[in-house]
């Protein structure tokens, strides 16, 4: 399996970051960056990374299943993550999530049939003082009301 030249360069550089014989440390970053390109952690991707790092596929699988941001199924083009943890909940995060669900027509960790939007109820994303907060892919949005959410979603085509 080959990746884009940019990703290959990133991988090559990454492998130099670790002490001799400890390049397994590159696994989680490689999974994250490759996931962006491949769309999900596919069996092929796991085998490829296992091969490159001298690991068993099982060892890669153990890691993939542990971390929330690694997913074996593809998400939407825009993955909407709405925090409902305490600080956001106090300022309407739960209602915002419900609103998003109705607006997008999908539930937790589901993707629209068109593949445009997917939704996830997430834990604290680190924007508590500017709650309610959401992420769309990696972008933060603060002080999000249902109206503001509608605006954001409309802007994403």
């Amino acid at each position: 399996m080959t990746f884009s030249p940019e990703l290959e360069t990133r991988f090559a550089l990454l492998l130099t970051h670790y002490p001799e014989g400890r390049h397994r440390g590159a696994l989680i970053p490689m999974l994250m960056y490759a996931q962006d390109e491949v769309g999900a952690i596919t069996p092929d991707l796991m085998e490829e990374l296992a091969k490159r790092l001298g690991l068993k596929v099982l060892e890669v699988d153990e890691v993939v299943g542990y971390y929330s941001m690694l997913h074996k199924k593809p998400q939407g083009k825009y993955h909407v993550q709405i925090c409902t943890n305490v600080a956001c909940m106090l300022l309407g995060g739960a209602e915002l999530y419900e609103h998003a669900g109705k607006k997008l027509g999908v539930g937790h960790k589901q993707t629209q049939a068109s593949g445009r939007f997917s939704l996830e109820e997430v834990e604290c994303i680190g924007a508590c003082s500017w709650a309610p907060a959401i992420q769309v892919n990696y972008d933060f949005h603060h002080d999000v009301t249902p109206a503001k959410l509608d605006q954001i979603l409309e802007g994403l085509q």
Binding site: P19, Y67, N85, M89, L91, C124, C128
Partner: protein, 435 residues
């Protein structure tokens, strides 16, 4: 970079002093405002001198545990040729906490300089900034900053012409609160599941890749350059005895001016909420607050007239913690708060040990059932009992972090639980005692 909330004139800005400056994250800005002076000074000091200065500052870990930083650095073995490392805990996943994000965004060189001073103190040659996966934009940002630093000779070989060599990298996480626990973070750095390690040995002796490692929170490292420049005593005097310096508090919830503010340790909590936070919004009364991240016992409004420092908060039965202060007004449903907190810990429990894995699940299900209207009288006592059965029994502090807020909510807001249960026509009988 745009600030997410306006600063307050009542702040004491040490680590956040460059927030809002134009191009605050660029090297030239950093150098023009006294940057790297602390590191240059450290280059002329011995390991003991640097560590003693940090000890004199009474700087304690700003990530949540509050362990004395100077003491931690002192545990790294000196007389060994083995490589030593620096690891920065930028996992920032404690609910309520959003400060390290700002430091990396607005003043990344402050973090870098702090790292270099620590490296000089213990003889480290390499370091990793472990950044949570959700902060992907910051990983890219810090990578850009490091590129500039390397290019300009402020990282790599012969840093700033001092002859000191150091390699620094970012390491991205992938979504796991437990990776904020130092030994679990090190496991994740090694490319494994974020499950904590048996301790002892501690990271200072066996850390990243089993080498002696200094592992501290972002804000902790950021405090170090100014300590070196102005002296440990100066830092200590900003706060209260044994609780030196300033810290960033992330004010959130039902206040008029939520935001991240840097204040001296020892500032009165109510003063902070009213004067910096603008008081309760909508004219409501305060009911309770979480003082320093969801792992802390909650305080009732009438318990908040205390100083915000490690010792005072401990005396009040809670913790200064990570600085995540979430204020709740009189309309807040405390049972739902308890449920949401337990949901979080159940979701994040790594699963390694029985009491946490099963305990958080049981409590979450029970609290959900109560909120759904199917609670029983005996459940109320059971919550506290189960939480206490987790306390002190788990493999890592996540079990305690789940238990402590839960116990405090049930003890301090019992009537709210009783109200939920009273609505259930099938509320059952008394608690079954554990024989």
């Amino acid at each position: 970079m745009k600030l997410y909330n306006p600063p307050s004139p009542l702040e004491t800005k040490v680590v956040s002093k460059r927030f809002g400056m134009e191009n605050s994250w660029k090297l030239d800005t950093y150098l023009a405002t006294g940057g790297f002076e602390g590191f240059k000074k450290a280059m002329g000091m011995s390991s003991d001198e640097i560590i003693n200065e940090v000890k004199a500052s009474s700087l304690r870990g700003r990530g949540g545990a509050g362990f004395p930083t100077g003491m931690k650095w002192g545990f790294v073995p000196r007389n060994t040729d083995a490589p030593k490392y620096i690891v920065v805990n930028a996992d920032e996943s404690e609910p309520g906490t959003c400060k390290d994000r700002l430091l990396m965004e607005h003043d990344p060189y402050l973090l870098i300089e702090g790292i270099l001073i620590a490296a000089k103190a213990v003889g480290a040659s390499k370091g990793w900034i472990y950044i949570r996966g959700e902060y992907r934009y910051l990983v890219d940002h810090v990578d850009d900053v490091l590129k500039e630093a390397y290019q300009r000779g402020y990282m790599g070989k012969n840093i700033a012409g001092t002859g000191f060599d150091f390699e620094l990298y970012t390491q991205i996480g992938a979504g796991a609160y437990e990776c904020g626990e130092e030994s679990a973070l090190l496991e994740s750095l090694e490319g494994k599941r974020g499950v904590p390690r048996i301790r002892p040995p501690f990271p200072a002796v066996s850390g990243a890749f089993q080498a002696p490692t200094v592992l501290n929170n972002v804000e902790t490292f950021c405090a170090v350059p100014d300590i070196l420049c102005n002296g440990g005593k100066w830092f200590a005097d900003l706060g209260t005895p044994k609780n030196g310096g300033t810290r960033m508090v992330c004010l959130a919830g039902h206040v008029n001016k939520p935001g991240v503010y840097e204040v001296p340790l020892g500032m009165n909590m109510m003063y902070f909420i009213n004067e910096l936070g603008g008081g309760m919004r909508g004219g409501k009364k305060m009911k309770a607050l979480i003082p320093g991240g969801s792992s802390c016992p909650l305080l009732r409004a009438d318990e908040c007239d205390i100083a915000m420092d490690y010792d005072s908060m401990a005396k009040a039965g809670t913790m200064l913690g990570s600085g995540g202060m979430m204020v709740m007004d009189e309309d807040t449903d405390m049972v739902k708060v308890a449920l949401r907190i337990m949901r979080f810990y159940k979701h994040e429990s790594c699963g390694w040990c029985i009491p946490c894995r099963e305990g958080t699940t049981w409590l979450q299900k029970m609290l959900a059932r109560i909120v759904d209207g199917n609670g029983a009288v005996r459940d109320i006592d059971l919550i506290g009992d189960l939480a206490k059965n987790m306390l002190g029994r788990t493999f890592c502090p996540l079990g305690d972090a789940a238990a402590m807020p839960t116990i405090s909510i049930v003890e301090k807001f019992r009537p709210e639980f009783e109200a939920y249960v009273a609505k259930n026509p099938f509320a059952a009988s008394e608690l079954v005692q554990v024989a």
